[in-house]
């Protein structure tokens, strides 16, 4: 909150501190939404520029993380409306594999990971917000702009879809043992 107040007062160092703290998760969230690395970079730039311009409008009713991810989501959806020419090359999961990744790919988690990247954007989004960004029901509700009950049921259907994909891929014994 203090950082946002300082940003509102034109303190660029405060913005840098906020960027250092939140850019990584913001970028990942955007990359998952856009499936395009260049677009995610541009959007990360846009999000933090928007924070610089609009810090005085932050009302502290939600956490800073929730606020940033709300801006990120809005920017991503707006961009997606304007351009829908994403390339297969940019899809997440195609990044250079690390030794750790290679090892895990050999395990049964590989299929789960692949299925997670193939979910619809709506389902990916809510799964990421809960599992990766560790957002409570209320926070997800604020970011997505939907009622809390809808958050719970959307998460339920996202998980249901993931389970269906895993079952159809023939991995039921490994994943649901």
């Amino acid at each position: 909150m203090e950082l946002v107040r300082r940003i509102a007062g034109g303190d660029k160092r405060a913005l840098e501190a906020l960027y250092t703290r939140h850019s990584d998760r913001t970028f990942k969230f955007l990359l998952r939404l856009t499936a395009n690395r260049a677009a995610a970079e541009d959007l990360t730039h846009d999000v933090f520029l928007e924070i610089w311009r609009g810090a005085s409008r932050f009302e502290a009713r939600s956490s800073v993380t929730t606020w940033i991810l709300s801006i990120a989501r809005y920017k991503a959806l707006d961009t997606r409306r304007k351009q829908r020419n994403l390339t297969e090359h940019d899809l997440p999961g195609r990044s250079e594999p690390t030794p750790e990744m290679t090892a895990i790919e050999l395990s049964s988690s590989k299929l789960m990971r692949e299925c997670l990247t193939k979910l619809s954007t709506e389902h990916q989004e809510i799964i990421d917000l809960v599992y990766y960004h560790e957002m409570a029901v209320k926070e997800v509700s604020e970011i997505l702009g939907i009622p809390e009950n809808t958050v719970k049921t959307r998460m339920f259907y996202a998980r249901k879809k993931l389970k269906e994909m895993l079952l159809s891929a023939g991995d039921q014994t490994d994943v649901f043992s």
């Binding site: 990584d24 990360t44 520029l49 990971r113 809960v130 029901v137 009950n149 719970k152 049921t153």
Partner: protein, 232 residues
């Protein structure tokens, strides 16, 4: 698609604890909800499996996200550049706005004048010019009967100044009263002028060298003349 279903409330056959399983896994339930989920997991093996399943999903999702990497350093540099450009643009805009505001105020003042007001403003301007010219003519003695200034071809005045002694230009800030007083103290009168360059010829009332020097010094220190040259 799930969108229609998710708005119709709780999915069939699901209780609240089952819906909250993902948030139990990430530790984002309040104490009462967490206790309810834990109790159910202890007594219901199927529900315990559901929790384990959510945990695997969570681990896989964290892995997927972590594998994405972060933004390259260039992004922050671009943000800094954009902020710099915005600051510069805002500064230019503020300056332009100030000039525009001044222009609007002036243009607003004149555009709001009615025809009679325009006439009044014009008449006032003309009146000021006439009064000033009249005052200077009076000081030069033109208002007195008979010739009172000397020209190259004309006669000398009887009571006023004699030969032109100085050429002067009065300060724009000097009032008529200040000029009259300075001329009186210096013992000179305006004998000719103003010409097109707003220069006046002054003549000495007491025409001798000593008086000329004294008048010169007094006029120079009076503060009402910005230029004074002795006549040849």
């Amino acid at each position: 698609m799930s969108s229609a279903n998710e708005k119709n409330g709780k999915p069939p056959g699901m209780d609240e604890a089952q819906l909250l399983a993902p948030w139990f896994v990430i530790g984002k339930l309040d104490d009462a909800e967490a206790r309810e989920v834990e109790a159910l997991a202890k007594e219901d093996q199927e529900f315990a499996n559901l929790i384990a399943e959510a945990l695997r999903e969570s681990e896989a999702d964290v892995f997927v996200n972590e594998a994405l990497g972060g933004p390259p350093p260039g992004v922050w540099q671009r943000i800094e550049k954009s902020i710099g450009q915005e600051k510069h643009a805002q500064s230019s805009l503020r300056q332009t706005a100030r000039i525009q505001s001044l222009k609007d105020a002036i243009s607003g003042f004149f555009s709001e004048l009615t025809v009679p007001q325009w006439q009044a403003v014009s008449a006032a301007a003309v009146a000021i010019c006439v009064i000033q010219a009249g005052a200077l003519i009076y000081l030069s003695g033109a208002g007195q009967p008979g010739p009172n200034f000397h020209t190259a071809s004309g006669p000398r005045t009887e009571t006023g100044a004699r030969n032109p002694a100085f050429i002067v230009s009065f300060s724009d800030k000097a009032s008529i009263g200040d000029i009259s007083k300075a001329l009186e103290e210096a013992g000179v009168d305006i004998v000719e002028g103003p010409n097109t360059d707003m220069l006046y010829h002054l003549g000495l009332r007491n025409d001798n060298i000593k008086a000329k020097d004294l008048a010169y010094a007094k006029l120079q220190s009076s503060g009402v003349v910005k230029l004074i040259l002795p006549e040849k």
